[in-house]
Amino acid sequence: MNLKPLLEPKTMAVIGVSATNERHPANVIFDKNNHRYPVEVFAVNPKGGQLHEETLYARIGDLPKKIDLAVIAARAEFVPAVFTQCIKAGVKSAAVISGGFTEGGREDLQDKIVAMAREADFPFIGPNCLGIFSPFHVDTFFLPIERMIKPNNGSVALISQSGGILVDQMIKFSQQGVGMSKAISIGNKAFVKEIDLLRYLMTDPVTKVVAFYVEGFAEGEGRDFVLAAQRSPKPVIIMKSGKSEAGHRAVSSHTASMAGDYASFKAAVAQHSILEAANEQELVSFCEVLSVYQHSIDGKTGIITASGGHGAMAVDACVTEQMSVPELSPDLKDKLKDAVSESVRTIASFGNPVDLTGSATDDDFVACAKIMGASDEIDCIVFLLLPYIPGVTLDIGVRLSQVCKKYKKPIIAYVPHVEKYNMMIDGFELNGIPASSSIEGAVLMAKALARN
């Protein structure tokens, strides 16, 4: 299955563009791509005619170029006929935005287009989906451009069974400064499924993390997916909904009652090194940290803080998440002591957490990070920043990022996320250190790196 024409089309036809209804989904899609994306886009309407200066082509076969992607927003019952035209005209792929298939009781229509696609080797996404948001290439979401919140361009691909959840996650990714390489809504996933996109994205040079929002898998599909994910060289993250068991099904055995649908899902996913995000916050955090650091760690966490309370909370979070916070060796403690300024040395504590107190400066934090960075006792540093202490400057993020690069050791920062501290947050994030808005969040990010 060649998905390149689908995800990075050079030419696109939007089927069902209306000459009169400007708010028709097909019109929104046509408008936002026309002249705004490098893809060359053509409008199709069986009645032909004009839309402003643009030609409405009556038939796909009339288009002046070979088409990589057809975006189909026609009514469900017309979709098989559109497929026939597309296949005949040599269109390479399609995104079926239209609803009214299996989800609307028309399984027959869905089966029909799947059979056509299979026979003609014509991959399509959907139906009942938003399709593809592919930065620098195409955007088939029928959401007006002025209303969409686009995340930065980046390296996280997110594939979602729900279009609404996908768009919401894009907002959250954008708020958290996490860049995306693709956002794909697969709807009823009648033909192109999670596993197909995973296989494509595994070799996509821009994508570093592949994340999924999944409601459920069809028969046997879950098994194939987890086995494929295990072979992925890139981290795979999954968020699941529909975890609660429906009703009280009569179960005839102990095993059947305890190995419920979600219990089985959870076990199968964890067994194949897929990281499960329990909620949206975890999803964004995991994506952020894994887009920066791909190497897994054992989870020996070193904590650097300016406040004992923050340190204690971080230790609690580590214990809850089964991350170790090793006691530092006397030798390492001495090195840390020697590294900090005279005034801090006498009041700071050099266990783990290393608490440098509110008197510490950038230099003290950086010196300690360097020593932890060079030590084998620690394989990940959680840095708890109190932006309001006087000795900390806007340079702290970039200086720590240099330590991180030099020693190839992940650093994760906690910074309170309020507008006043945005420049500090950027100092971390734009220089490649993930910054969480909570202490627990920072620890969860570290845990994501400790996946097996």
Binding site: G220, E221, H254, M258, D261, A263, S264, F265, A267
Partner: protein
């Protein structure tokens, strides 16, 4: 691969949707599992002869296609030590619905584990390991993996159990043969993969694990509803 006899048993059992215990035991013993010495009898004389051959004490259980949950109808009696009690149990069982025989089992010692399988729609055969009795019923002390299992999976599963220290010999108790538990669970996962077109869920409850062996004492195989 399933041999012909196993296939025959499974096909025949589709008629009532599950595999009768003696048949299930036969499947497991043919597949290389340790099962207790057992006999199925209908008459008092047969029962006495079989119990003597196996050796007291024995466990007896009702065999009936109408009774899936044997203990609910008092269809299981453990620790029978003499002929009188044996015959009394048989007389009682004969009055239960669908009686086709009485199963006489050798008593197996050791720790009570449960091994189970569920044929999950999305993920196929899933394998469960847990502590039997209250361990599974109240504490839900279980571990779950997708089949087929390899040794590292099985080691993880055992360590995941809260009551894991019981296996290694807690407070001076003799440890269970860990290698036997592992071998039994791996063999079980292989058999479940072979049977995946047939079963819906399987409970081996209990599997008695001692210093030497793991014995499948009770096996319930629920079949897929194909009708």
């Amino acid at each position: 691969m399933l041999n012909r006899e196993i296939k025959t048993i499974l096909e025949k059992s589709k008629n009532w949707g599950w595999v009768l215990e003696p048949d299930a035991k036969r499947i497991f013993s043919m597949s290389g599992f340790q099962t207790p010495m057992y006999a199925v009898v209908k008459k008092p004389q047969e029962a006495i002869a079989a119990a003597h051959a196996i050796g007291y004490p024995v466990v007896v259980k009702i065999v009936s296609p109408d009774i899936i949950h044997k203990s609910d109808v008092r269809g299981v009696v453990v620790g029978i030590k003499d002929d009188d009690r044996l015959v009394a149990a048989l007389e009682k069982f004969r009055k239960l619905p669908g009686f086709v025989g009485m199963l006489i089992d050798e008593m197996a010692g050791g720790l009570e584990l449960i091994m189970g399988a569920k044929n999950d729609e999305q993920f196929g055969p899933m394998i469960l390991l847990g502590f039997g009795g209250v361990g599974v019923e109240i504490y839900k002390d279980i571990s779950l993996r997708m089949a087929p299992l390899k040794k590292p999976h099985v080691e993880d599963m055992m360590r995941e159990l809260k009551a894991y220290p019981l296996l290694t010999g807690y407070r001076g108790a003799k440890p269970v043969n860990i290698a036997a538990v592992q071998k039994t669970l791996i063999r079980f996962s292989t058999l479940m993969m072979d049977m995946k077109d047939y079963f819906e869920s399987v409970d081996l409850n209990p599997v008695m694990c001692g210093e030497k062996v793991c014995t499948v004492v009770d096996a319930r195989i629920m079949l897929k509803n194909t009708r």
